[in-house]
Symmetry: C2
Subunit: 360 residues, 2 copies
Amino acid sequence: MTAEHAAPDAPAAAAQQQRRAPTLEAVAELAGVSRATVSRVVNDSERVSPEARDAVNAAIAELGYVPTRAARSLVTRRTDTIALIMHERSDTVFADPFFASMLRGVNHALTSTDLQLVLIQIQGDPQRDRALRYVGNGHVDGVLLISLHGDDALATSVSKAGVPLVMAGRLLTGDRVDSVDADNVGGARLAVRYLVTAGRRRIATIAGPQDMSVGVDRLRGYTEEMQAAGLPGSADWIATGDFTEAGGRAAMERLLTEHPTLDAVFAASDLMALGALQALRAAGRRIPTDVAVVGFDDTALAPYADPPLTTIRQPVERLGEEMVHLLLRRINDSAGAGSGAGADPSAVVLPTELVIRSSA
Amino acid sequence: MTAEHAAPDAPAAAAQQQRRAPTLEAVAELAGVSRATVSRVVNDSERVSPEARDAVNAAIAELGYVPTRAARSLVTRRTDTIALIMHERSDTVFADPFFASMLRGVNHALTSTDLQLVLIQIQGDPQRDRALRYVGNGHVDGVLLISLHGDDALATSVSKAGVPLVMAGRLLTGDRVDSVDADNVGGARLAVRYLVTAGRRRIATIAGPQDMSVGVDRLRGYTEEMQAAGLPGSADWIATGDFTEAGGRAAMERLLTEHPTLDAVFAASDLMALGALQALRAAGRRIPTDVAVVGFDDTALAPYADPPLTTIRQPVERLGEEMVHLLLRRINDSAGAGSGAGADPSAVVLPTELVIRSSA
DNA sequence: TTGAAAGCGCTAACAA
DNA sequence: TTGTTAGCGCTTTCAA
């Protein structure tokens, strides 16, 4: 109250400020029914007469009633909230459009429900513990986990706490939790097969970090397809990067030094492919005529590659959506069954796609 | 109690699953004090004896107690939750790293508090209304608004509902709400001044959408600095894009057609600058010797520009942090004052920075 | 400095 | 089909 004469002059404004949100009680009174009936209408119970329902709905509309989450939560023991936990080590990773696309998918899948999404970002051990306690104590109905680097322990902890969990990717430990992933092995094989079909024989790869399932799987796809094509392929045709542009550049330089005669490269990520392109150009190699490059594209960065990059497209947005779908199913399961470990974990795998771009 | 004799076969598992989180009551009992005292300790009340405090803290640690949000919320009428509302029209905008960086800043500023961040994405009128009802009915303590296209009505609505609000950017209507923005006018002037200093005279600009303060301000900076430099500059040296790469390319092509002799371009966003670069290269113009390009860089995309792009860097992450800081202040204000319109809205403006890159 | 008691707004038995 | 009633876990007067 810094205003004018303080109290008596501005009652309207004060009232507007202070006015509490309408409660079930108010709706019940206006509709001429009991609180229980209003609650039934709000929660779509079938045991309500049409008249009562109409009266309640009218009252709700008139009052602009919206249920209070806290009160409902307190009695139902549901929170109507799911957490998106992302574990990131380095700053650069966060700026990755991968994250934005995934988030978009998650959000999209969530709009039809009235679940709330809370973001939890883990950067260090204290935060990690805090998050674990948070989800472990029933403050969310379920957890979506994006572990950008293989922190399998986190997934296992959450899972053990009895909280429904869906992760992106796959646990390297072999422990089984519900997960959604793109077909990284298949995608990588597609990439290499494309290069083989184009007549390339001296095909190198820039692999991703081997502490993440994505990195492991894409390298495996490369190895498998090379073998299938009867191509030599030894360990020193593999350079490992960290999914960043700089890492890709460095890896490419290494490969060029050791194998000046290479005629194709499969990069396990778009950023690394971009780096490879730069290194090749700097080395005076012609792309794609001299060296063909195929990159794995999780994001939307490919358009910035010049010359155009042939890519394996991963449906990141759908990945986010599928994670939500699976999680919702698990949450329902656990509500119904009440206890027990529930069904076997399922691992949804989304197909990838080869996008061939012509050099303009 | 559905337990009892129901499931004699798996009591341990059931117990582990069903075990409820410890309550205040349990802590009180273990510590040998009343619930009220535990509550005081948890909420850092000063009126607690050291002995009681120690006993309570020990009990909390032993039990792993974490307060239940819902219960607390119900009585305090705070939700300890703030909403990040983003209004997006087109799909492309969301994938913008701008968003990820800002979110990172927001999250960072939030980790020291125990506020929860919920994401609300608005895509159409129904969702808009829903969001408005949601925040209007006291389900969040405050709102952060990122209106990618000028939807001033949303900001005004939220603000009128009496909910603390901080927006990114500035309202074009002139209505005053709390906001945080980068110094777009100053940044644009910096860009143009740099070009002028480098000896350029025929400087065109690719402006952003004129329904957003960012677009308007950056164009204004261009105009002001051109005038200050005594350079002609007429309306047809201005091509408007939509902050996308394609838009930048199209705008650049238009400019090249109408002004083949231009020797510099100021692009009001990084994506548009990238597009401009492509168009220039396609037209056979040499960058930067023939045409100098300076872009406004909100994101982290500049590294992908080849040749290197001289940019005006905007501290997007700090922008997110500052929004949170301001919002927290406002939330405290409104809690203290109780009512009234509060202090004058403040508009925080963050400095920008010119980053000069050499063509490798 | 502490405890007893009331009640936040809602749902879920249980009765009617 | 409806209403009555008893809490969910917490904070907060008010007394002691």
